[in-house]
């Protein structure tokens, strides 16, 4: 289960929060699994090549230090499940990929009033909790985000 926290009411006491994603990602190596493949494809338009390289959108092999900060944040969420990853440097596409594909970890959410892109993903199972509620469909999460914004 991916746990999302809203930056507006998050209390960091007792949490190990990663603010600098680049620093946290530097010692990590890629795992050749489905989540990694989905995150690389969706955010970076790249593919797994080896534990320290990906094939980029132009077909070149690049070191993982060269991928975007947003993609690094997404991989940190999946690979560092004991920490809370601050998504302030994530674009909306990276945030949406995290919500869609990460099945564990913790993420500090910004732009929570902006709905998650669900085009062509209506039938995907997600595994997300936010504010004590669990969601298995993007549309249900978006309904909740919309009602939450309205209640605010």
């Amino acid at each position: 289960m991916l746990k999302l926290y809203d930056v507006e009411d998050f209390n960091s006491d007792g949490f190990d929060v990663v603010e600098d994603v680049e620093e946290a990602f530097a010692p990590l190596r890629l795992v050749n699994d489905e989540v990694t493949a989905n995150l690389l494809r969706e955010i970076e338009n790249a593919e797994y090549y080896s534990e320290d390289r990906v094939t980029d959108r132009f077909g070149a092999q690049i070191y993982i230090s060269e991928i975007s900060t947003g993609c690094k944040a997404a991989l940190c969420v999946q690979y560092l499940p004991d920490k809370v990853i601050d998504l302030k440097e994530c674009g909306l596409n990276a945030r949406d990929a995290i919500i869609t594909y990460c099945n564990r970890g913790n993420a500090l959410l910004y732009s929570s009033c902006t709905g998650v892109e669900s085009y062509n993903k209506e039938n995907l199972d997600i595994h997300v909790s936010l504010k004590g509620k669990e969601f298995s469909r993007i549309d249900d999460l978006n309904d909740f985000l919309g009602s939450y914004e309205y209640a605010e």
Partner: protein
Amino acid sequence: MIELLSDRKILIDLDNGIYTFGNESASGKTFLYKMLSKLRSGKDIIAITAETARYFNSFLDIARHDHVILVILDRYDMYEGKYVDDIVTLKDDAVILLDYKQGDLFSEYIQGCYIELSESSLEVKGYGVI
């Protein structure tokens, strides 16, 4: 139009002012920062990121002295609030590119821009006022 030669040809098709990129990851912002950093020997470019921002509190004197035409502040969310006076002061004399997603500093000045990336070139274009 600013045209630079690096691993790729870099074209900055913007008038002087403050620009932020769209709220999208992997559009090429940090890649642009890294290419411009390598061109620092040209002296008319300033490239700052979260790591280098720790080491100085102002770039205005350097910008004035070297007649800087292009400034890029990568990962500005990590040091939001720093260099505000420098950025505002320099906005009429240089193109200032901000990788800045969450805050609303400079909202009265800021314009939107985006990157078009190909195998041989990287072009930065404007959206206009946002």
